[in-house]
């Protein structure tokens, strides 16, 4: 039986494991630096209900565990635990658009992908099924070639209806957000960061199911950071060294293939830390692309207060239902594509009113008196070879090396980001928000959507992995992570990395059956 090591239990590693297990007799050994966690547990849900910001504190990066001239702040963005960052993701699952795969050809920035949208489309459809995405199958931007979402989208909320009028007033197109919510299980409780019914996709719950179904062929080592990829010569990976955090022992595990699914930052660092005689500056780094081309999503937001909220709009659905990709179009690709989502809510909550000793009538009046409107968006940025990840000194609380990072954002992105934020402010004014209530801001990317340190390319001179995610000049060592993205697009990356995982599983299992 062929043994495959997968490093990382996030969405990429889990989807890959699921597909390999379903389509072969391979044995999977998965390593996760973080600890176990329970999905769908009432006690955990109760804790999350009353203190939503605390649930995942012990799984984040250490504050200050990265250094560099300027860096992408990863604290709070990534989670080191069974299931990885999907434990607190919002579930947004848009496809990239066809032009996103041709960035270099169309704009001169960054790099093209070695695969096209058309090639990836069937894997997008499979990934949507695996993540349980609800979406509008009639929306053909990007093209769906007749494929349906597994679940139809929830109807727009009453508050969405108010916001849609503003978008239409600005002639801005909009649609249902594609989100990973199983329509048969969602009970609209609004505590989506810890779903009591596992309706929101998490790799955590997926893994629990896989462990039950494939008890004999899937093993998961938590609190076991992998420290080195073991190679036999230049081409062949033979296993990994890992640290057992419970015992403190260094151990090794052999395998027939190794897949690194540790996210953009840790995947690159592991390859750097695995330098050997044949790969003196890190595995996959013959052309000096390893750790470079780091990108993320710059963010912009605006919020304001509008007098009058007779409908007491509030966040009744609890997840994003209305989204605009109006600016995520070929016309904006040369300056910075962007998507955004508007939200509307009342100025207080009932429990806050009670705890402030407001009378019932006062709470009622306050909820009706004002509406808070917010608009948040994310945009594409272009890579720079100077955006670089290297190994820092010392280790984090999860047993991983600290990160040294240099990061910059091109001037054109800074300028476009401000333009997008200004557009949000105009919409808020048109929505009736009081001028002096409007606040706006822009943010540099955090680590949540980091991409690009092991980019995909046809030739070794241009990247780290080939179109099948195998490290150039190796036989059996792969990277399955956002790290392989040659460009980031404006859309959230999770569905795309899931589609790549489905495609890689097909490649690995077909390769085996052919041989």
């Amino acid at each position: 039986m062929k043994k495959v090591i997968i490093i990382g239990s996030g969405v990429a590693g889990t989807i890959l494991a699921r597909q390999i297990l379903a389509n072969s007799d391979f044995q999977i050994i998965m390593f996760e630096a973080g600890p176990m966690f329970k999905p769908g547990d009432r006690r955990t849900w109760l804790d999350h209900l009353v203190a939503p910001n605390k649930l995942y504190e012990r799984f984040t990066d250490d504050l200050g565990s990265q250094v560099g001239n300027r860096h992408m702040e990863v604290f709070g963005a990534r989670l080191f635990m069974k299931g990885g960052t999907t434990n607190h993701w919002g579930g947004l699952s848009p496809r990239f658009k066809p032009e996103d795969f041709e960035l270099k050809s169309r704009t001169g920035y960054g790099a093209d992908w070695p695969i096209t949208y058309r090639e990836l489309a069937p894997y997008y459809t499979k990934a949507e099924a695996l993540l349980g995405v609800c979406g509008d199958s009639d929306n053909d931007d990007p093209p769906r070639y007749g494929d349906k979402f597994p679940f139809y989208p929830p109807s727009y909320t009453l508050g969405d209806g108010f916001l849609i009028k503003i978008l239409e007033d600005h002639k801005i197109s909009y649609g249902h957000a594609a989100v990973a919510r199983n329509g048969n299980k969602c009970i609209t409780t609004g505590t989506c960061d810890y779903c009591p019914t596992n309706a929101r996709y998490t790799a955590l719950y997926d893994l629990v199911q896989l462990q039950m179904k494939y008890e004999e062929r899937l093993s998961l080592h938590t609190e076991s950071p992998v420290t080195k990829i073991l190679m036999d010569g230049q081409k062949r990976a033979i296993g990994v060294d890992f640290l057992d955090l419970e015992t403190g022992n260094e151990e090794s595990m052999e395998a027939d293939s190794v897949v690194i699914s540790s996210g953009t930052i840790e995947s690159a660092k592991l390859l750097l830390a695995s330098a050997n005689r044949d790969w003196q500056t890190g595995i996959g780094n013959h052309s000096d692309h390893l750790g470079r081309h780091l990108v993320g999503h710059p963010l912009m937001f605006a919020e304001g207060v509008r007098s009058g909220n007779p409908n007491k709009f509030n966040s009744e659905l609890g997840f994003t239902s209305l989204l605009s990709r109006h600016f995520d179009s070929p016309e904006y690709q040369s300056k910075g594509k962007m998507w955004f989502s508007p939200k509307i809510g009342s100025g207080t909550t009932i429990e806050r009113g009670i705890l402030s000793n407001m009378s019932r009538a006062d709470i009622d009046e306050k909820m009706s008196a004002e509406a808070n409107i917010s608009i948040g968006g994310e945009m594409e940025m272009y890579d720079s070879p100077a955006n670089l990840i290297r190994l820092g000194k010392g280790k984090t609380r999860h047993g991983l090396p600290t990160t040294k990072m240099d990061f910059e954002i091109k001037e054109i992105t800074v300028k476009t980001r401000q333009e997008h934020a200004d557009t949000f402010v105009k919409m808020l004014k048109r929505a009736g928000c009081k001028e002096n209530s409007i606040q706006m801001g822009v943010l540099d990317p955090d680590g949540a959507h980091a991409s690009g340190t092991c980019r995909m390319s046809h030739r070794e001179a241009e990247g780290v992995v080939d179109a099948h995610l195998r490290i150039h000049n190796t036989d059996n060592l792969y990277v399955c992570s956002n790290a392989v993205f040659p460009s980031i697009a404006a859309a959230n990356p999770t569905l795309t990395v899931s589609a790549l995982a489905v495609r890689l599983a097909e490649h690995m299992t077909l390769k085996n059956s052919n041989s």
Partner: protein, 197 residues
């Protein structure tokens, strides 16, 4: 134009906030200096429940004392006609909070001690709760004291549980609320949908 501090998580959470305390005077009980010092006794600065590994259950009398908070809130804010039904859920959920680590057992017992203490001063439970929830104390930082921890880790959390789980938010004209099991999004009853036309 104002600039505000924000990060991705805050951005994602826009519109989702939990209750926080502010203190307002309300018809409060006069308490002796000795007992005020009991309320202001230092317990811990930690956000983690005290004796978090000590598991167990509240007695039925203790639960009745603690859950009188919900009777008080329901009386003033008129959240639900089905209080008894809600209290069954609260009882089951508090058992989960005391039978598993981190256990809230000691925090709950400390809060119950305060309720009992103030009840000794007054026959009216309403005034007891008014003092416990809203009474002003001279100490600047209440957060680490017995009363401060009871407010933060016990009373605030129970009210944040009560509003959605009891369906009490519906009294304010809403259909769904964070923490309420509204049902399938296909159901017309689960949340207020956009009006067509």
């Amino acid at each position: 134009m104002n600039k505000i501090d924000m990060d991705r998580r805050k951005l994602v959470k826009m519109g989702l906030t939990m209750g926080t305390f502010s203190l307002f005077p309300f018809s409060c009980i006069q308490i002796s200096d000795q007992d005020t010092s009991e309320l202001l006794k230092f317990i811990s600065h930690s956000d983690v429940p005290v004796n978090e590994k000590q598991i167990g259950e509240l007695t039925s009398v203790e639960f009745k004392t603690l859950s009188s908070l919900c009777s008080y809130v329901n009386q003033i804010w008129e959240l639900t006609p089905n209080l008894d039904q809600y209290l069954q859920t609260l009882n089951a959920d508090l058992k989960l909070k005391t039978n598993e680590v981190p256990s809230y057992l000691t925090e709950y017992k400390n809060a119950i001690e305060l309720i009992d203490l103030l009840e000794g001063f007054n026959e009216h439970i309403d005034e007891v709760w008014s003092t416990l929830l809203f009474g002003e104390f001279t100490q600047e930082d209440l957060s680490s004291t017995k009363i401060g921890r009871a407010r933060r880790l016990v009373f605030s959390e129970i009210i944040t549980h009560f509003v959605p789980i009891s369906g009490g938010f519906k009294a304010f004209g809403l259909m769904n609320y964070r923490g309420y099991f509204g049902g399938s999004y296909a159901s017309p009853e689960s949340y207020r949908k956009m009006e067509i036309g």
